[in-house]
Assembly symmetry: C2
Homo-oligomer: 336 residues x 2
Amino acid sequence: MVRPPHIRDVAALAGVGVGTVSRVLNDSAGVADDTRERVRAAMDDLGYRPSNAARRLSLGRTQTLGVIAPFFTHPSVVERVRGIDDVVGDSAYDLVLFNVETSGQAEDALRRFARADRVDGVLVVSLPLSDDELTALQDQGIPVALVDVDDERLPHVSNDDVLGGTLAARHLLDAGHRRVAFVGDTVENPFGFTSSARRLEGFAAAMEEAGAPLAPECIRRGPHGREVAGLLARELLDLGEPPTAIFAASDVQAFGVLDAAARAGLDVPGGVSVIGFDDIDLAGAIGLTTVRQPLRESGRAGARLLLAALAGDGHEDAPALPELLVAARRTVGAPP
Amino acid sequence: MVRPPHIRDVAALAGVGVGTVSRVLNDSAGVADDTRERVRAAMDDLGYRPSNAARRLSLGRTQTLGVIAPFFTHPSVVERVRGIDDVVGDSAYDLVLFNVETSGQAEDALRRFARADRVDGVLVVSLPLSDDELTALQDQGIPVALVDVDDERLPHVSNDDVLGGTLAARHLLDAGHRRVAFVGDTVENPFGFTSSARRLEGFAAAMEEAGAPLAPECIRRGPHGREVAGLLARELLDLGEPPTAIFAASDVQAFGVLDAAARAGLDVPGGVSVIGFDDIDLAGAIGLTTVRQPLRESGRAGARLLLAALAGDGHEDAPALPELLVAARRTVGAPP
DNA sequence: CTGAAAGCGCTAACAC
DNA sequence: GTGTTAGCGCTTTCAG
């Protein structure tokens, strides 16, 4: 709890100037080996740790990266952030998190970054950006990378969600389903399309192509979450002609659908089939059939993209991710 | 991407000195109302945002709080952090996250905080601290609060895990079980007891008291995780005289146990009963019987504790949390 | 009530 | 090679 040693204390003890100490600190060339040693020794003696507040001010860099994402409602996002942490953890950057559950709050978070000396770069995960938000970011000139956001204007990594939807449709079709339904997220952002919307797109197109187009009443959307998805599924199940299979835009929503089925006294997959999307850890635990996407790897890729931008390595292309596939487990069977 | 306006630009435009602008910025008293207005107008005009790097240096405060926790392997921790975010989000502090999966890494994270100007305070979640780590923290004089860590030496909020274990035992006993088993975490830290250990303590004591002491071979521990728990459960199920019920120290581990039971062809609760701990969101989704603890609220409480310490509000006592109770669902039944 | 000036602790350009 | 010094942008005495 004593006053921490400063650079000039080190300089004094080592009998050099602060400039030299700074050079040692930053591994700059042009310091004699023995001087360097002497300075190092002095730092150790004093237990010296540079103040990064001062360093920030003087460098104009913060050594921290901001992550804007809906952490708490989306386990898949946690997994993506885990990937981000994998690569950022090895760098010199800290991660500051801004939790955001709606696009509106995202603007707020973006504003907190309004000043470039708050973070050196921003990672936006699973949040479609409005044009305003996007231009605001660009105006600030702060490097950004998007994860699970399909926006061509910025470096981004995203899956082919349309394909994912197609895969889900094919899997259901193969099992013999013709009347299927979709449970996904509300389209809350007119500017960017959510992954949920793209999954529906591929799903609907594939069903249509197979001559079994999705009925309008079989498309249900609501705020992301297990409970809501359960409610939506219940509506579906209560239909005069209920679907024989339901595609949920995320595993969390699939869990809600499963719950609704159980409450409705329907066996899965005997009474109704269910397929999810993401393949989060718990999906395997309960045998949910789902479209697997490389969550953690997407975070890694996004982080690398941002780090590359920060290092000025030119515009690195979005790296290829492992491809999507259906993890067939126990919740899809033949129609009743 | 233009150079952001500085305090002196504002001062110039408003026709005042930088000192006055600073005063307006900080809502300090002693500025004439009209001057204040004029300065405000100038700030708006310029779209001025103070540099917090500079502010930090000059204030000696960082306005950020560090959170050290095993985020990615423990959904329960995510929920606690959510509580932290609830209260910190409303304050002026940012949250910087340090993911840590083992006690060893915790020391590392702590070291990153070695200098007080990195964060103003630290929240440690679900990680027992060694004496070294603890004294290191104290030496730095940086305020700390612990969540789900039972260490009397620091402000902390924790549940009565011993009681939780007791509740689990009683629930199983009430259902008629006499030969029960435990699956929990490795004791990796000889200095602090993990919640897992305390849960076992209460569990074992209650069983013993009921005249049905836990057999040594019925206590299995391993690194936290679903997979490992599944393996441990498998061992249990393969015992000559397998337990009729298993208490998992966390829901994640309970999922592993459930999985192992399914693989062993055992019905739950027909073939074996399972009870977990935490009551994370997904527990309800799959009907897991578990000991519910107030996760999110514990995070909130911890954050409040830290904020109070930061505000110098003296030593606030750990707030009372909602009590533990068994959420009885579908995984506990009579012994086979 | 307000302006001027001295730091906060470090980096980097510039001399020696 | 190494010391000196001028900032980085703000806060906060200290005068006036």
